[in-house]
């Protein structure tokens, strides 16, 4: 029983770590721009396909492909900001919501045209196999997901907390006008935030696309998970996004194992509706002010 629970916990941790990357990217862009990037889920999907395409050229394990995927996806993120964010500055935030939905549709259509609708798998991070520890089966893949996602979250934290670039990014997120008055050029930093957020989504795509496969239409699923994670964790809160993502995964894995995945997903949405019913401002209130 305990063994099974620990196994499930590792599953939840692996899934949650990947969700955390997605939610983190979502909330960083949210804080920098006050806008919801609805394409974040499709960026996860795109990251999975970029990994598959790369692996066809470079037959390397996933862990070696990860930096390349992240960099390519970051470039895509910067492009996204140029197409769907910068032309809409000064317009109601809902405009960016719609423009990123449009970009998501384009990404999904492209993936479907290039790779087809069947589920595909990205290469494993370090190969098959598992550690047997006191009767518990610990697959390398899941351990590696947890380790790599934690590393990326740590790197993101260090970037924001310890570097000059990070301080500038935070200044822009806090008050764009003030940052501008202090001589910080906001536009490249915002584009950079989109790149960072998308890079994280792409990394998550690689991490997820081995065990859980990737299909062109699953972006909606991932954006919902990230959105829910950020709602639970407190709209605009960076640590809250990570905690929220872990809670979402824990709920999903727990309920799926007892009932089924569909029931788990439906119950998750029902739970979110209930949360919003009793706490219209989210569980921990809002770190960011009214927008989107």
């Amino acid at each position: 029983m305990t063994t099974l629970l620990l196994q499930l916990l590792l599953n939840a941790l692996a899934l949650g770590a990947a969700y955390a990357l997605i939610a983190l990217g979502f909330v960083l862009v949210l804080n920098a721009t006050s806008a919801v990037n609805f394409a974040q889920g499709d960026m996860v999907m795109a990251g999975g396909y970029v990994a598959i395409a790369l692996a066809a050229v470079l037959p390397l394990p996933g862990i070696a492909l990860l930096p390349v995927v992240a960099v390519l996806m970051a470039a895509l993120g910067a492009l996204l900001s140029l197409l769907a964010y910068f032309p809409l500055i000064g317009r109601p935030p809902v405009a960016v919501f719609i423009s990123t939905i449009a970009l998501g549709v384009m990404l999904e259509g492209s993936a479907n045209a290039i790779f087809g609708a069947e589920p595909r798998a990205a290469p494993a991070l370090v190969g098959a196999g598992a550690i047997e520890l006191a009767g518990i089966h610990l697959p390398y893949q899941r351990l590696a997901i947890v380790a790599l996602a934690s590393l990326l979250i740590l790197l993101q934290h260090l970037l924001f907390a310890k570097t000059q670039l990070g301080r500038r990014l935070r200044a822009v997120a806090q008050d764009r006008e003030m940052a501008r008055a202090l001589g910080i050029a906001a536009a490249p930093l915002i584009a950079g935030t989109f790149a960072l957020g998308t890079g994280l989504a792409g990394a998550a795509g690689l991490l997820l696309a081995n065990e859980w496969f990737v299909t062109p239409t699953e972006g909606t699923n991932y954006i919902l998970k990230a959105y829910i994670a950020v709602t639970i964790g407190g709209w605009g809160s960076v640590p809250g996004a990570v905690v929220g993502a872990l809670l979402v995964a824990l709920f999903e894995v727990g309920v799926s194992s007892a009932l089924s995945y569909s029931v788990a997903t439906a119950l998750l949405y029902a739970a979110v509706l209930a949360i919003l019913f009793f706490r219209p401002q989210g569980i921990f209130g809002e770190a960011a002010q009214a927008r989107a």
Binding site: S99, V105, M106, G109, A113, L224, T231, S262, R291
Partner: protein, 547 residues
Amino acid sequence: MSLELGPYELRLLTVAGCYALPVLGYQLVFGHAGALSLAQGAFFGLGAYATALLATRWGWGFLATFPASILVPVALAALVAAPVLRLRSHYFALATLGIAQVVLLAAVNWTELTGGANGLAGVPGVVFAGVPVPRGWPMLALVWGLVLAVMLASHLALRGRWSRAFALLRARPLAAAAIGLDEGRMRLAAFLASAACAGAGGALYVHTLRVVSPEALGFPVMVACLAMSVIGGAKHVLGAPLGALLLVHLPEWFRFLDLYRNVAYGAALLAAIVLAPSGIAGALARALPRRAAPAPKPQAPPAPRRPRADEGPLLAIDGLAKSFGGVRALDGVALSLRPGEILGLIGPNGSGKTTLLNLVSGFETPDRGAIRLAGARIDAMPPHAIARSGVGRTFQTPALVEEMSALDAVSLARGKELVAARPEAMHFLAEVGIGAEAAAEKVGRLPFGLRRRVELARALALQPRLLLLDEPASGLTAGEREALGNLLRRLAGQGLGLLVVEHDMPFLLGLAHRVACLDEGRLIALGTPAEVRRAPAVIAAYLGEAA
């Protein structure tokens, strides 16, 4: 009929009509109420499934399935409206998307009922009171007949007062509440009507295709509704058929793109939101020159009965307290105001003046204490109800819609159709010194001082018993300030009670009968202007502790 259209073209046109219906609904909730609902696709699919199930499993006829297909999504919308409609926009989008996903999961997994991923086949065509309506021209005529009927209904319902009321609600929700518009009811009406339109469209869609599968309620249908609204134009009824016709045919025109047709679809939506945010219909409307309605002759509405000074206090505030987080914005404030009295409210920045006005208006609810208007508690009432019970107000910066004419801005506060409201609105505009020419002008083109007066006229158009003014003199020229003072004195002479927050001391001290001074949420002085001016606590609050 000599139009050379094959069955395939006729079917495309019919399908476009089936989509125009949910888009007409989506214009209400998204275009007018300004709420990004992501459940419209699910409502469409629910209508389709309701028709398919009732017709194939239970053999119901069209006259029963069609109303049922409208009722099912409306019932779901009504069920979720209470928790969902009060959410702020980003949570509203999430909540409606969550509802749509639950509906989709149910359609895929409840196989015994819905046929699962395969869906339901063998849906009959429309049989209208015993007369079959075959595919081709007859079905097309039925669908587009309904589209035209809904367009007409929508146009009649929204032209005039309600499109402007929604515009104010989108741009300045607090100002809308302050003139008695009930945001909750307006949003609910739009949400339910949007679900009804979507259900009707879904029902006709499944009669046209004769099969239904979970694709009918998936996210792509939602995106299609959104794209059709944005590209066609979300605020003009013509936008719905234009958007639907265009986007249903777009994949046909982009056939050469083959697999990349959906990419073109996304690109079209992106281009529209960036380059033409008001859509094709919006651009057409701008291209056609439209004369503003000429200002009618002023006509005074019947004067309301105003309480007399000996009837007891008009406004009585008792032990009022409000905290934001850990900050005590107001701490046990007690005040009262007689009919015909001008009470000035002063205090340093952050002393709680605007918080006090917001509590009286109902924008905030007090933590403790009571607010009574002519003896009746109002502190638990929603802002629109407080406004209707006779409390008018203005804001620090005039809360007006720039594209609306001054005349219409004021007419909205009369709570009746524009034709009847405009002559009365002219009366209130005349009272603040605005003539026919400025009244017909768009608010955004008026100088600042005139905007302040338009807002004051709007508050007066409520015929309030109590008027709350937040810094009415700021930004006015000396001449305008004098005219304002005279006007406010005249209003008080008519029995109106005025609570005036103002930083301009010479103006306020020359105007008010009594002055109250707040400091850090507490009432530190109350008396005649002369008394308050000399009060040591007031001098200390303004000059710092040392004084």
